[in-house]
């Protein structure tokens, strides 16, 4: 009996290893495809300095896997004046969230290390990423393409969404003595002492993806990433237009403890209070980005609010979208307007087949590429803005094909 089981296990493991081979071959082919688009380094035989060589490398022609350029033009935005005491205002008032939303615009930077201005070729960089997720796989993909163009040595430490682990990795990163650290914080507020430590060790920090709190912003040279607040204000306006500026809506939130938990909830709420005062917020709750939980939540809302519920805002377009689709189909309420934060394959498919009206555009590869590219600009000695956003756009059924195939 024992031998039988053992032989079965052996055969199974052989089968698995066989198909592991298939899987990795596919990955290699994908890398080949984008390699052919790689830019070439200048072939000048003179004694050019590292800095000049580095400035000549052209990464702007690299195309990402979704057909959009890898280095996207960064945007700025209008920053209103800071209210006297943000916390005293109500939650529906946009001023209450000023510190979190506009963190970094008016920060006084502290102890920033001066750029050596000797080019970016051959530098050593440590990437502290927040965790494993297909978005982050695409992020690392974009990141490594830029690293290859400049011959930068990269070490990636994965925090696995755990503050404990990331604080350990910050110490390890300092120990490595890199030329720069790209820091994607797990927690926007708790990363402040960590950034301070790196800053005091004299290593420049480029923060990425999650907007750190004001207290942390003064230690980093620059921040790049998606403009969560701004995008969701745009999305809210589009959402209100789709709904005719009236009706009840509900928000499915992101995971508690993350910064989109607030950004993707209160940006639309504060925006709609001004833009479409006739629209009513019926409910907001999190489903931990799980499909079954989202399905249950949305079904319960449809049962509870009936025809009053006319629109849904989702903080994610992956599992949340799948769950919402199911709930809408089961209740026969395909008339409900759905918008979400994008842009994954599931979300774009939903836009294509009409379930979802619009999703925000957030290029994962672009996120990774721009973070490292900002470090490259730092090494080249250029000045940069403290805050640089990825381009904002609402993907609708009209232009969804421009962004296919999906990055993740």
């Amino acid at each position: 009996m024992f031998k039988k089981c053992f032989s079965v296990i052996l055969v199974m493991s052989l089968l698995v290893t066989l198909f592991v081979g298939c899987g990795s071959k596919e990955k290699e082919e994908k890398v080949e495809k984008t390699d052919s688009d790689k830019a070439s380094v200048s072939d000048n035989t003179n004694e050019k300095s590292n800095l000049d060589k580095s400035k000549e490398i052209d990464v702007f022609s690299i195309i990402g896997s979704d057909g959009q350029p890898l280095i996207l033009p960064t945007e700025k935005k209008e920053v209103p004046d800071r209210p006297e005491d943000p916390k005293a205002l109500a939650e529906e008032d946009a001023g209450h969230w000023w510190d979190i939303e506009y963190a970094g615009w008016t920060t006084k930077k502290e102890n920033l290390p001066k750029s050596p201005a000797d080019g970016a070729i051959g530098k050593k960089v440590v990437l502290l990423k927040a965790g494993d997720h297909p978005y982050w796989t695409a992020y690392v993909n974009g990141f490594t393409q830029i690293a290859e163009a400049y011959d930068i040595e990269v070490k990636i430490l994965n925090g696995n969404w755990n503050m404990d682990l990331q604080s350990q990795q910050v110490d390890q990163a300092i120990n490595e003595k890199p030329d720069a650290v790209i820091f994607a914080p797990v927690d926007a507020t708790a990363c402040a002492p960590l950034m301070r430590k790196i800053n005091q060790a004299g290593i420049p920090i480029i923060a990425s993806n999650t907007i750190p709190a004001e207290a942390a912003m003064k230690y980093c040279t620059a921040w790049t990433g998606p403009d969560d607040w701004g995008q969701f204000r745009m999305l809210a306006k589009y959402f209100a237009d789709e709904m005719g500026k009236e009706g009840g809506y509900a928000i499915v939130r992101h995971m508690p403890g993350s910064s989109p938990y607030f950004a993707r909830t209160f940006a639309p709420i504060t925006e709609l209070v001004d833009y479409a005062p006739d629209m009513k917020l019926l409910a907001m709750d999190t489903a931990n980005l799980e499909a079954e939980a989202t399905m249950q939540l949305v079904s319960d809302w449809i049962t509870k609010y009936g025809d009053e519920l006319k629109g849904l805002i989702l903080a994610g377009d992956g599992f949340s979208m799948t769950g919402t689709e199911e709930a809408l189909k089961n209740a026969g309420r395909e008339d409900i307007v759905v918008v979400a934060a994008g842009n994954s394959k599931t979300g774009m498919d939903a836009v294509k087949n009409g379930v979802c009206s619009g999703i925000t555009y957030q290029s994962a590869e672009g996120d990774g590429a721009i973070a490292l590219f900002t470090a490259v600009r730092y090494f080249n000695g250029e000045e940069m803005d403290p805050v640089a956003y990825l381009p904002r756009h609402i993907i609708t059924a009209d232009d969804v094909d421009n962004y296919m195939p999906a990055q993740w």
Binding site: D132, K155, I156, L157, N158, N160, W161, N162, M163, D164, L165, S167, Q168, Q169, D171, Q172, I174, N175, E176, K177, V186, D187, A188, T189, A190, A192, P193, L194, R196, A213, A215, M255, P256, G257, S258, Y261, F262, T286
Partner: protein, 379 residues
Amino acid sequence: MHKSKNIISLIDQNRAILLLILLTCFSAIFAPNFANRMNLSTILISGCMLAIISVGFTLVFILAQIDLSIGATAQFCGMLCVGLQPELGWTLSLIIAVLAGALIGLFNGIVVVKFKIHSFIATIGTMTIIRGILHLYSDGGTKSIDNYSLGEFLETGQFPIWFIIIVIGAIILFVVLSRPDVKTIKGITTIVVPAVFIILWLTTKLFSPIVIITFIIISIGIFLVDHTRFGKGFYVVGGNPETAWLAGINKDMYIILGFVICGITASLAGSIFAMRLSSMTARFIFAQKALMTSLAAVIIGGTQLTGGKGNILKSYFGVLMFQVLFNMIGCFGLGFEIQIFINGLILAVVVFYEAYTNYRHELLKGQRPELLKEAQSIR
């Protein structure tokens, strides 16, 4: 379980510290940037939270119970400590956080003892409740304060002179009072290890205040459990409840006390972690990972789920071993999947080996090898 003297059993008895030494040597030789003072200090600091949790956790294991709510308790009490600090100051908020941990432990203990529910189930329930309360208190956001002075002191500061003198004095007093026998290995280690520790502490900057605090808590735990008569009661209650009852030991009180101590250590660990980072996150994965890692560390350290056996020092070596492992994987730049796979592999090997020794022991059940040998030698 009679102690056999063969080499495999010796390795098994001390597997935590042997694995630790093995991994450290391996990393020092092969892993880039591993063997410098700052990295070793990082390893010790990052092991502090799990080490303090494992003190109480080992106690619960000795009592043949299990407590799955320690991660949630640590996160919640850490959040209380940081959240109340602006109004109440560090001392008072730490006391309140520890009291909250003790209350949670008391709840666990009462549910297990008075309602007679199995501790696995009871603590799953407690974990779920605390998860909800945590969200209520934090509203989904991180609690933090702007003042990093305590965190910096814990990581890179130095204690005032009088504190150092008191601690060194206590160590010397303890060593002298235990009257070590210089001829045995145990006696020599009792003198050499504290001496080396004192020298290292005073000359290098290897031990930050947070590490010293952890050592103090671990020492208190070891003293309480191994060297007092009261502490020995834990072993009896866990290993053989019938004998404990016959001996007149109050089983219920010990179990409740075990859970209370576990809650106190978990809340202390969470509070110290929160003090170090001046904040505490609301993501629940923090609690889950703390639970899983300390569970693995305590099991590898030699404690068994069946109770009656356990050693706080070995659990600490287990925790350190895991930190060295994670650090080594970070130095090599390997992915997280390797880390979690090796985590599972080590746990699997340990569990497998324990099952095997139990199996061998069961074969000998009822036999008495001394009589058997005597019978054979007569023939």
